[in-house]
Symmetry: C2
Subunit: 189 residues, 2 copies
């Protein structure tokens, strides 16, 4: 397969994620990735197009992982139970990898179908979970946006240390889930 060392685009992305997790998304550099790979910086260009392209691949990987995480959390559950599981899984992922939050907020560039499609995948899981509530297309979209906004906002603020106070963060999240479940239930009637 790979002639010399075992470096591939995927392997480079994996190393990049290690850098992101360790030092933050803003600190991602080809130099750091190359060091981890045990390779000179320019060699990375044989696998990824450059720093911008690497960032995009990192975003893609994170979105894909999140989609899988959510899919896993949703399968085997339904209704309110599934909504809460989704919320918990989303938050848990960003607690484990706080620096990856930026990847979930990046808008795909114009014409980047692949990333747009991947982002869509996250929404599709929510769509599936909301199906039993019997919303029409538009209402499903509105409910999905609210669900995602609330959960993402919470996880995002938590990941960036926005909750300075000592009060129990789990309790706050439980309240958020309650509000969402009730809000969606009410919206269905």
């Amino acid at each position: 397969m790979s002639p010399r060392a075992g470096l591939t685009p995927d392997a480079v992305v994996t190393l990049a994620l290690e850098v992101v997790d360790a030092d933050g998304a803003g600190a991602l550099s080809l130099a750091k990735v190359a060091e981890r790979a045990g390779v000179a910086t320019p060699s990375l260009y044989k696998h990824v197009g450059g720093l911008a392209a690497l960032r995009r691949l990192v975003d893609l990987r994170v979105v894909a992982e999140m989609t899988e995480t959510l899919r896993g959390a949703a399968t085997g559950r339904s209704g309110d139970d599934a909504i809460e599981a989704l919320a918990d899984a989303y938050r848990a992922y960003l607690r484990t990898h706080p620096h990856r939050v930026a990847a979930l907020e990046t808008a795909p560039d114009e014409g980047d179908e692949e990333l747009a499609k991947a982002t869509h995948g996250v929404a599709e899981v929510a769509f599936a979970v909301l199906r039993p509530y019997g919303f029409d297309q538009a209402k499903t979209v509105h409910a999905t946006r609210c669900l995602r906004a609330a959960v993402h906002g919470f996880a995002s603020l938590e990941a960036s240390g926005g909750f300075g106070r000592p009060e129990d963060v789990d309790a706050s999240f439980t309240l958020l889930k309650t509000m969402l479940v009730r809000g969606i239930t009410d919206y269905a009637s």
Copy 2:
């Protein structure tokens, strides 16, 4: 006061915000600010400590502006009305300046009392608005977190182009506000 040209730390921050608004937070550089100021890059060091310090000042300015915006929206209103006004003002600010969203997600560094205090200011507005609901301290914190998380999440995803679908975004936000108002009302009983 200022011997030569009219450059001050505040003026530098204002120029930096112009760069952020135009090109995005990631594109902020001393070189670009210096160009706008009509000055050589190293001259900026007479006013701000460096790029990192400038970023912090930008965050500080944005947080302060947001606090003022929210305070303005809340005064003269109370109850559910005030909550919706707060949500609308938060969203409106980030619609006007989408690239400033990052400033609201930055965690203050260890020991940065000033920025921590400024961030606190945003929460205080929410606290004031929630007072009439009669929550105790802990419940007020939980409700504030949920309110902030939901609204910030929505505005953040909107600012970064996360809502790809054609369905009306205003309608989605209205749903979010409804959920929040009802959720907080229920939480009070």
